[in-house]
């Protein structure tokens, strides 16, 4: 019985540590910035861990294209992972470093700072380069992300490390209101000493995207994906959704 309780605590600790780089509402960043664009942004997602634990997350944010190369966004986010609820305030800044199409790879950079609004989560910082290219109507994105929680260890004594994760998507731009493709997310573990394969989290699955003009320079953009676990440590199914109102 003690062993099962200890194993349960370990699983919970792993999930809470994992939350730092595998939020249920995670989305694929793109490097483009649109000057003057204002948006209200909703994101949500849910998955069930292999051990049965349920995770759910939602966020709402306001973003603004402050310059031709800098987009900034503030979020309020809530995550419920195995009945542990965390509320955080998030400040995301995205920098477009190259002109779209100027080089074979478009490059951007993202910084994302999370400040806890409840006392069971640490401050966290995520940074990384954002890459994009296109082949005709096919657009490809790939992002390399490094994330660190501040402090020495979590409440279970698990030391914080700088972790490495990745995101990618392939999108066929069929028509503005409906585009389709694939998305993938992966968590490799410590950035310079990746987890053994069985402990890495890899998810991928079909995704759809679209843009619905409302007139008078107002637009709804959406993208959503159903992700399948591609490793034993990954949730079997993840649903994620992002909807933006641009004005």
């Amino acid at each position: 019985m003690k062993y099962r309780k200890f194993a349960g605590m370990l699983c919970l600790a792993a999930m809470l540590a994992g939350k730092a780089y595998a939020g249920p509402a995670d989305y694929v960043y793109t490097p483009n910035v649109e000057y003057g664009e204002r948006e209200i942004d909703f994101k949500g997602g849910a998955y069930r861990q292999p051990n049965g634990g349920y995770a759910q997350g939602e966020s709402i944010g306001f973003g603004y294209g402050a310059t031709e190369h800098w987009f900034t966004e503030l979020y309020l986010k809530q995550e419920n992972i195995a009945n542990q609820v965390a509320n955080v305030f998030e400040w995301e800044n995205k920098f477009q470093l190259t002109e779209t199409g100027e080089y074979p790879l478009d490059v951007g950079f993202v910084t994302e700072l999370e400040s806890p609004l409840s006392n069971n989560t640490p401050w966290e910082l995520r940074v990384g380069p954002l890459l994009q290219t296109e082949f005709g109507k096919l657009q490809l994105n790939g992002n390399l992300l490094f994330e660190r929680a501040f402090g020495t260890a979590d409440e279970n004594g698990v030391p914080y490390t700088t972790n490495f994760s990745y995101q990618w998507q392939a999108k066929y731009r069929w028509q503005p209101a409906f585009e389709f493709g694939m998305q993938g997310f992966g968590d490799m573990g410590k950035w310079d000493a990746w987890n053994r394969q069985a402990d890495q989290v890899h998810r991928l699955g079909p995704a759809i995207f679209g843009k619905l003009p409302l007139g008078n320079r107002q637009v709804i953009q959406y993208n959503t994906a159903w992700l399948f676990g591609a490793s034993s440590a990954a949730p079997n199914h993840t649903f994620r959704l992002q909807v933006e109102y641009e004005f």
Partner: protein, 105 residues
């Protein structure tokens, strides 16, 4: 090796040499020329000069480009290489008048 690969991905590859240069002018909420012929299969550097006092947004789903051009400002777009065909674009802030097409041939 893993680190070298990661660092290499941080940097864009070398620019295409010899991009063909073209210019579009925005005047009285219209693009001039409204039809711009460019060579197919070539990378295009497109300079947009906005002579109006108000901002305009170059928007083309066919070209996968959106770019705000400030009033009395300019912007540079890189497009292509394009397959032969017609690629419409518009000014999102003045859609009634600001319409155009790039013809790759």
């Amino acid at each position: 090796m893993k680190y070298i690969s990661l660092v290499a991905l941080l940097f864009p590859l070398a620019a295409f040499a010899g991009d063909a240069n073209y210019t579009l002018v925005i005047r009285e909420h219209r693009f001039q020329p409204a039809e711009l012929s460019v060579p197919a299969g070539a990378k295009i550097k497109l300079q947009i000069e906005n002579q109006d006092a108000t901002a305009e947004e170059f928007d083309s789903y066919a070209l996968n480009r959106e770019k705000v051009v400030t009033g009395h400002g300019s912007a540079t777009l890189y497009i292509g290489p394009l397959n032969p065909g017609r690629y419409p674009f518009m000014g999102e802030f003045n859609q009634a008048t600001a319409q155009g097409v790039i013809v790759a041939e």
